[in-house]
Amino acid sequence: MGLKSTNVQRSAERLREGKVAVLEHNASDVTPNASPQRTEKSSARPGDPSAPPPPTVPPAPAAPSSPGAPSSPAADDVEALYIEHRNLLLYVACRKFRIPDPDAENLIQEVFLSFLQTGTKIENVRAWLVAAMCNASRHYWRAQGRIESLPDDFKEHCDPGSQGLADQFAMRMTVRQALDYLQPRCRETLWLHYFEGRSAGDVARELETTNRYAEKLIHNCLKRVREIYLSITAVTK
């Protein structure tokens, strides 16, 4: 059940180690996943890697049916749901609640097991899963609290205002996806101006161009990322 060698895990490890992470930068890389060089903005959670493991989910026993037996539609449904929502739930657990990746994956499994057992019609599946993930994450930290001291900013983890949480997280993920489609220069422009908060003049110096052109670039790149964002959301709707 581990998530070895995954980006999220590496990211979470960095957070646990309290190190400043530097992501790779490949200016010629135009494929999705490429990010401009940058430093982590958030502070790392002071965690103890040697802490006892949190309560995790034992793997579900194998189905009573014989190997190779046809799967139920419910199995196909839950797999599809898991694939569709996993990133969002992982995001909620790892980013909002700062839960280590392997534990987050276990909590996701808990959420889906719980979902399977609701025995009632769920009105908004995504919102249900996100709210349940918040519930599982709070439970995780409560359980951790019994065996080790809680992180200093525990309260911030606990109440991310789950009413609009799903939309907010989904929106951030879609923007991230949209950024992956941009040319590196455009991505870097947006990174410098919006994320690092540099003025158009600073951006011009960084990109070795004129102020006027940098301004135009900022505007065009913002327009472009919005266009891509809208086309992605139109498709997913």
């Binding site: 989910v57 037996a69 918040c134 799903a166």
Partner: protein, 449 residues
């Protein structure tokens, strides 16, 4: 310049410039122009997101095959157990409910999680039709769930099942008026759910039952807190239907405290929320609640209006039994407003419909409403006739408590044949017949004059 701006839409560059220079708030065109304000909002949303580290993080990892395998195995196991449980349930629930538990004890192989789930599935429909059966079904469910081996199922499956079984038992016990036992079942359910990793949603569902159960104890504050907390959780889960249901549970609490104005405000608020949804059943319950509140407030016309709205919705979804109950309320309101003939005519129609729907007791109660109205007008022969036909209906229905109902009705028929206007007797017979299904061994004793 300003005039031009109002007449023409801003370009993207102009909108971005407004954001960049923080001049959007002072702009005069934006508040008046929906397309421009929507567009600038989307630019602002993207720009804000670009300031957030989370938007720049690399995509999350790939789905984990082991998780998929575990979830698929669990789903397959549930499907398999549930399908076996359907066959088991047919055998288990054959005959009278007194036979069910001994039969279960003869078949330990029937004690599966699937059987618990299937029993729970049937409780809510059974509780309306035959409440004591529902109580016995939940007794079976809790008995099986408590003996399941929790290590044979992944994670907190068994704890969750136990919680659900006890919750439904609490509801069924509440339905038959065993409030103390219902409260004990709530405690048991709460204990099991609290041990689960994901529990909020289930606890919120339990909260609605708790609100219902605590009200008869007049523990209004606790009951209200439970309903409010449940509604908050359902809001977080974006479950409008259950949010409204939880808040609806507050209404009887407010009514018990004679807080009709607050109940009215609450119901009107719920009506606004639910009216645009597809939850017709819940919407009808809200409208019916408004009908009831306006009746309490003495606003007969408004009350009937809301009852009519509820009826229209219930007709659409073919909820026949609910429809006749609401029409019954309307007829009673008309009777109370002095419109006796209209009320009698409606009640006569209703008794036929109720009889056709197998609602023998309700038909008898509606008939006794007519009898009471007729006694006021000294129409004794008609009262006698009503008693005769009601007795006949009970005989045909062959219910466990038919004999007792016939005895009670005979008292009214006799009083009518003696031309005695004994409305108090009619009321006591009506109350007796109302509780008979829940207490079939209760004896009728006419109140002493």
């Amino acid at each position: 310049m300003v005039t031009n701006m109002i007449e023409r839409h801003y370009t993207d560059e102009a909108l971005i410039a407004l954001i960049e220079t923080n001049r959007a708030a002072a702009d005069r065109h934006l508040p008046a122009c929906e397309p421009c304000s929507a567009k600038i909002e989307s630019f602002r949303m993207i720009a804000d997101a670009l300031c957030d580290q989370e938007s720049w993080d690399r995509p999350a990892s790939e789905p984990v095959p082991a998780t998929i395998a575990s979830l698929r195995a669990f789903a397959d196991r549930m499907t398999d157990e549930d399908s076996r449980a359907e066959t088991i349930l047919q055998a288990l629930l054959a005959g009278s409910r007194e036979e069910w538990m001994p039969r279960l004890n003869e078949h330990p192989e029937w004690r599966t999680a699937g059987v618990v789930r299937k029993l729970i599935e049937q409780v809510y429909t059974t509780v309306v039709a035959m409440p004591p059966d529902a109580v016995e079904m939940t007794a079976l469910a809790t008995d099986i769930a408590e003996e399941l081996d929790s290590t044979a199922y992944p994670s907190d499956t068994v704890a969750r099942l136990r919680g659900a079984a006890w919750r439904d038992k609490a509801y069924a016990l509440f339905y038959v008026g065993k409030f103390a036992e219902a409260e004990a079942a709530i405690f048991a359910s709460e204990r099991h759910f609290c041990s689960c990793v994901v529990s909020e949603y289930d606890l919120a569902r339990l909260g609605i039952v708790k609100a219902l159960v605590l009200r008869p104890f007049e523990r209004f504050a606790e009951a209200s807190d439970a309903a409010v907390a449940s509604a908050k959780t359902f809001e977080d889960y974006r479950d409008l239907n259950r949010t409204v249901s939880a808040r609806l549970a507050e209404v009887p609490i407010l009514v018990s405290r004679n807080m009709y104005a607050q109940a009215e405000r609450l119901l009107l608020d719920l009506e606004r929320q639910i009216s645009k949804s597809t939850h017709v059943d819940t919407h009808a319950r809200v409208l019916g609640g408004l009908g009831q509140i306006y009746k309490k407030l003495g606003k007969v016309d408004v009350s009937i209006h809301y009852y009519d709205c509820a009826l229209a919705l219930l007709d659409d979804i073919g909820a026949s039994t609910e429809t006749v109950r609401i029409r019954w309320n309307v007829a009673v309101i008309l009777a109370e407003a002095g419109k006796v003939e209209d009320a009698c005519a409606r009640l006569r129609d209703l008794t036929h419909e109720m009889a056709n729907l197998g609602m023998t007791v309700d038909a008898a109660l509606a008939s006794l409403d007519i009898a009471e109205l007729l006694l006021v007008q000294n129409r004794y022969e008609e009262v006698e006739e009503i008693c005769r036909s009601t007795m006949q209906a009970f005989e045909l229905a062959g219910l466990a408590y038919t004999t007792r109902a016939l005895t009670a009705l005979a008292f009214i028929r006799e009083a009518a044949s003696l031309r005695r206007d004994d409305r108090r007797l009619v009321r006591s017979v009506r109350e007796y017949i109302r509780v008979l299904p829940r207490q079939p061994n209760l004896l009728f004793a006419p109140s002493p004059d």
